[in-house]
Amino acid sequence: MDLRYFAWLRERIGTGHEKVETEATTVAELIEELKRRDEAYAFAFSDLTAIRAAVDQDLVELDAPITGAREVAFFPPMTGG
């Protein structure tokens, strides 16, 4: 599964893209798995109210399923316009 990070989440994690193998079935489970990896992930995901996610490029809630997804992205609230 491809993971993508944007804006300050990308900066805190230190990369904009990585590939992972996971048995997580929801976005939230994937976040918990990532937070257990190291301090950088734990810090990046410390405040979940500031985290938005997309599964296969569609914005989703954090309880959304990720089974079968090709790409999951994490980022802060968007500031377009």
């Binding site: 990308r10 490029q57 968007m78 377009g80 316009g81």
Partner: protein, 146 residues
């Protein structure tokens, strides 16, 4: 029509082109967003990061929602990414309809959704370094009126 690009654009030429591309419209509304200086007055540049692929998909989805809700002769959304200086254009939306109420409502709807639902992130660069722009509660609140 949706366009995502790094290059500057000509707002006047885009407005004229868009208006010429629609038929039967009596009303054309446009919105353009420009880089404003920061409060301390020393903004060097704004850098906009985006999510290639999702950006186009999100903007097309927002435009489709607008077309479903209002009777529109046309919808145009253009958003830049990358570096831009104070005073430069960031983005533009335009809507056309028979009557003004539809064009105004659709343009405001597009802006409200684009602010909080399209994957762009602004960073302001001053002499002190880069600062990610925080999302505003009022922008999230603005979505609730639709």
């Amino acid at each position: 029509m949706i366009r995502v690009q790094a290059e500057p654009f000509d707002m006047g030429a885009e407005l004229t082109r868009f208006t010429g591309s629609v038929s039967g419209a009596g009303a054309v509304v446009s919105f353009c967003g420009l880089v404003r200086d920061v409060a301390s007055g020393d903004l060097d540049r704004m850098v906009i990061e985006h999510y290639p692929g999702m950006t186009e998909k999100a903007l097309a989805g927002i435009a489709d929602q607008a077309r479903a809700r209002w009777s529109l002769a046309g919808v145009f959304v253009l958003h830049r990414y990358g570096e831009m200086r104070p005073g430069e254009l960031i983005m533009m939306v335009a809507t056309a309809s028979r009557h003004r109420a539809d064009a105004f409502a659709a343009a405001e709807f597009l802006m409200d959704y684009l602010k909080s639902r399209a994957p762009f992130w602004k960073q302001e660069i001053t002499a002190d370094g880069g600062q990610w722009v925080a999302a505003k509660d009022e922008d999230e609140a603005a979505l609730r009126r639709w």
